[in-house]
Subunit: 480 residues, 2 copies
């Protein structure tokens, strides 16, 4: 039981981190002194201090829950992370590897040899091994497959077979099954005989001879119903179940909607093959929210806060390169109007306002549509009404903010016509932004792509280029 370690508030945890950081800083200081000074006597003292610090550090780390050690490791720079990782009790290695983020896991695995990796993996359940398998060297996986018994090997292979965002990748295999024809009394005795029950267990799965699931028996009913009654009489026959190829996103919505703790996973023939638990769903929801946020900011993947400079730069290049290309094109739109700008330099000062507000307004629309698509609220039947609403909002905003920028330009440059062009260009670019904000994510979704990825770049590209084109074009035609 590790229950005795499980009582850490976030404040406590942050205190722990600070104390560990202080210890590590002290150790660095001492090491620095040893290197600088020398002298055998001095060395001895320094070494003693160093050992004391090390013992203190080890003591602090050992009392922590593996999930908390994972947190500490994520918050430490690479060299200190390595120092702490080497102090961790090897029996927790597997659990910690499971808890840390993908990028931090990579950095920890680099420090482990094959034997350590095998030992860590063997301490995990098969579905957990599958979760970290992508980061394990190929030969470790192969050796692992040979050491597992037939059932576990089958579990691991099936868990590895499902793509990341499916129910198959979320599920575990710790089910408790019973037959429908026994009494609750027998079921209770069976549980007692099992001795150890899986975590999160809130219902037993009722299966027939062929392992097909025919009902579920919530523990609540088991605990409150007369033990003489048969399982068949109290089991729930209509319940939420998933297929391993279902999208994890949809399963998480079902968990949220129906307040589930666990749900069975069945194959095409209705045979029970695994279960999804709410803790896996919570991790999934958190990770996908994080991934959305990172990809919307143009990071290729989740980045270790302390990754090497080279790693970090590569993680950001794809997006910066795409942006550079779109910025070049927008720049060429302006280039086409250089003659107009030479005649009236005010145009250069005013044009970023049109482009910028268009981009911001379009991003508001795009965010609402992406969210509506994710929740299943946006459908073909209501697309027309959404377009109408967003166009109306754009016209209203165009009139309000267009007038504001128009008056500003007029007063500043004392040219009423310039103000008029500003106002008209703003109105038009807001309309462009509204339409782009609706159609970009809808078209991406229709193409089977994730509408959250790349929508925003594409939108800004359109509102920038069109904003410059509309404003400079109108000015050239109407003012010069």
């Amino acid at each position: 039981m590790t229950d005795s370690l499980e009582n850490q508030s976030q404040d406590n945890l942050e205190n722990n981190l600070v104390q560990i950081q202080t210890l590590l800083a002290k150790m660095r200081l001492v090491e620095g002194l040893v290197h600088k000074q020398g002298g055998p006597r001095q060395d001895l003292v320094e070494n003693l201090v160093h050992k004391q610090n090390l013992t203190e550090l080890q003591r602090r780390v050992t009392v922590l829950h593996p999930a908390d050690i994972a947190y500490i490791l994520e918050a430490l720079p690479l060299d200190e992370r390595r120092q702490v990782w080497n102090l961790v009790d090897a029996e927790h290695n597997g659990e910690i590897l499971l808890e840390v983020s993908d990028s931090v896991r990579e950095s920890l695995i680099q420090d482990m040899d094959k034997a350590e990796l095998l030992a860590a993996a063997e301490s995990l359940d098969t579905d957990e091994i599958a979760d970290i398998a992508a980061d394990l060297p190929r030969d470790v996986i192969e050796e692992l497959l040979t050491t597992l018994d037939a059932q576990k090997r089958a579990h691991l292979q099936s868990a590895l077979a499902y793509p990341e965002d499916t129910v198959g990748a979320l599920m575990d295999f710790e089910m408790v099954t019973i037959r429908a024809d026994v009494t609750l009394e027998v079921a209770l005795r069976y549980l007692r005989r099992l001795g150890e029950l899986p975590d999160q267990l809130d219902k037993l799965f009722v299966v027939d001879r062929d392992d097909a699931i025919i009902g579920v028996l919530p523990l609540k009913r088991l605990l409150t119903t007369d033990p003489e009654v048969s399982v068949a009489a109290v089991m729930v026959e209509d319940f939420v179940k998933f297929h391993p190829e279902d999208e994890a996103h949809e399963a998480s919505q079902a968990f949220e909607r129906y307040d589930l703790v666990t749900a069975p996973v069945v194959d095409a023939q209705g045979r029970l093959i695994g279960r999804v638990t709410v803790d896996a769903v919570v991790d999934y929801i958190r990770e996908s929210a994080d991934a959305d946020m990172l990809s919307m900011a143009g990071l290729k993947e989740e980045e270790d806060l302390f990754s090497t400079v080279w790693h970090a730069a590569k993680n950001r290049w794809l997006w910066l390169a795409v942006n550079l290309v779109t910025a070049f094109i927008a720049s060429r739109v302006i280039g086409a109007f250089e003659g107009s700008i030479e005649k009236l330099a005010a145009l250069a000062a005013l044009m970023p306002i049109i482009a910028g507000i268009g981009g911001n307004s379009g991003n508001q629309t795009i965010t609402l549509i992406i969210r509506g698509l994710a929740l299943g609220h946006v459908t073909t039947a209501n697309a027309r009404r959404l377009v109408l609403k967003e166009i109306s909002v754009a016209i209203l905003n165009g009139l309000v903010w267009g007038s504001a920028v128009g008056v500003f330009a007029w007063l500043l440059y004392d040219k009423p016509a310039l103000g008029g062009v500003m106002a008209l260009a703003m109105l038009l670019n807001l309309l462009v932004a509204a339409l782009a904000g609706i159609f970009i994510p809808m078209v991406l979704e229709r193409m089977g792509r994730d509408p959250a990825i790349g929508s925003s770049v594409l939108l800004t590209f359109i509102t920038d280029s069109m904003g410059f084109f509309i404003f400079l074009g109108l000015a050239t035609v109407l003012l010069l």
Copy 2:
């Protein structure tokens, strides 16, 4: 039991939505015909068809789980939403109001009179009433308080007293408590006598005479241990507990880290006052991820996809106004260099590249830092290393992308010196972006503000203004 209604995959649900939308469209069509044509015979036929459609609609809605009706209502425009809402069985009104988003709830409550609202609220638990209380008219709340019994009134008042993002606002009051000195046999008999157990129940709370919690008894242990043993002998004494004033964010992290299903909430004296369940945590995590996404896109609050144009416009104005001000200031920076632009219009075409790439790169940094702050990974002790890393990445990116844009400008305008200025300005603006990306969220956090809100506006303001200033300034000094 509504279990029989609970079996809907997301696909099913979307099919249901489409069928309901088709029915509503048919009904609109028929109504249109009635208005156009007239003639008593015609009317009769049309009315008959209308009634058939209405019956069919009602039939479809009635079989749905309240959470699924909530989903359908959210996906319908205001008028159709009202039509479906009027068909819903009144006994589910409360549950549906609880499930829909805040903005959709507002639109539904507008259609209900005081008696209906009271009936809906009375069908809910006190913690659930507290969740929707903000949207209920004041007189409904007051009347509700007079109709509740003393214990429930106290619960409602305490739930209403805690601010939204605290554990107090997440908790419910459906605990099952037992004494430590009884045997498991007695505990089991007690549960059977209770008959109905609360949802999500995975552990009993063990309390002393003063209602202070002294341990928890997981159902897993209750089910697998010899019934003759006393509760005291098997209860877990070190367990995760919360105080009502704890931040909901931290509680959700604890649920995620320790895979909790329920956890007790205690007051300053250690007395049990409520519990937090994982379904409330799942809703909280989803809602705060949504709120982050919306506020980062500059929406004041979550917006009903089908809200009125006026509502939608108001929701977006604050951010657009802020952006207008920052865009004006950036525009004035350019205005200061109008003389230079008149001499070399190429500057106007090139300057958005410097500003844009700076903004994108800074947003990558800011997103990582905001996430690091939320996870507790960014601390004073490692801030220096983060700054060093981000500056290094900025220099690397500045050399790579600065050279790229430099060569581009050189080739395009056949002016090597212009290329040099582009490259240097890009490098400098990426440094500005890196520093702003780190310090803006850290300073906001230090000031006790949410670093996710407004960071991005402030950053873009700095990278735009500084980008224009650096590029135009360098060009004026070095080229003209």
